[in-house]
Symmetry: C2
Subunit: 188 residues, 2 copies
């Protein structure tokens, strides 16, 4: 493992309700000095969760909502922030109820994914949910989300869908598919 | 397709060298009003590119570099900004030479992935590179990157590697694998 650069100074240079930008002065082990910026601290400090919810042996749920970043209605996986006092699986179950109208009897943590490690600190926990049942909780969404299904055999096509783009959601779907194949409960 | 919310007002509320945060007042078609924040305009406006570079029939290149966002050395795919006057494939070839020390005789655009469409505008173009040859260009990296290889059969294990976390890179690797399987040049 390489020796991490030494932090010479750090300072918050911009902040808003959701975002905080930290400027960091670094000296690498070869003596080179650089100024980096990193985005930190969105959310409440308890992390975030993204759910691959299997509605049957081969279909996962997608939700459709207005995305302010891209100014478009996008399909992606249900996701949200973990709330104080919740563990990751409880947060996944709650978000699934709020966004898609389903609870899950089986919840399993798969992995942690980062967004853009070069300049963002954000990570998200990927949870596989199954044995679903209908239950809706009121969330804080401005309007109801659309709910759709994707066959795990069609992930390459999903990547070309004009309303789907989120890289980490695609990674989560592929990871879930690999795991289900490995367990012998799904095949291509 | 649903009717997009009406934009009532927008304002830049924070900015730094790399980041700009826009606050947007929205009215959804059901009358509900919300204030969103979105991260816009990192980079030079020409976009970014991420490369799955096949060094042989089953191995793709990974690079290891210090990531300021997570404050750790991470493995991921070569990537970078498209420069003025470059197309996406030329940018992919240049980044590959700068970060991994290889050029590619075959370059092919696979798809576009977003980072976090709910609150970020950023997108990245995924390029598949093959028929590699050794050629190094000087980049702007503070220190040389490590270069490693990943077998496309081992993507589920890669997701568990303590030095690998980037969701969109994992999605790009899975997409490339699916395409190579579909073409009959790779099999699991």
């Amino acid at each position: 493992m390489r020796q991490k650069p030494e932090v010479l100074a750090r300072e918050i240079v911009a902040s808003s309700r959701l975002f905080r930008v930290e400027e960091v002065q670094l000296r690498f082990s070869n003596g080179v000095e650089r100024t980096y910026e990193r985005l930190v601290g969105r959310g409440n400090g308890y992390g975030a969760v993204m759910i691959v919810a299997m509605v049957d042996a081969e279909h996962a749920l997608l939700v459709e909502e207005y995305c302010g970043g891209t100014d478009s209605y996008e399909l992606s996986l249900p996701k949200g922030l973990v709330e104080p006092g919740e563990d990751v699986l409880a947060a996944a179950d709650r978000e699934l109820k709020e966004e898609a109208g389903y609870g899950a009897r089986q919840l399993e943590h798969l992995t942690e994914l980062s967004l853009s490690p070069g300049y963002m600190s954000q990570k998200i926990q990927v949870v596989l949910a199954s044995e679903l049942y209908e239950e809706r909780l009121e969330g804080d969404e401005p309007e109801p989300m659309g709910v759709e299904r994707i066959n795990l055999r069609e992930l390459a096509s999903l990547a070309q869908h004009p309303q789907f783009s989120e890289g980490r959601a695609l990674a989560a779907l592929y990871l879930a598919r690999d795991l289900l194949i490995q367990r012998g409960v799904f095949s291509l």
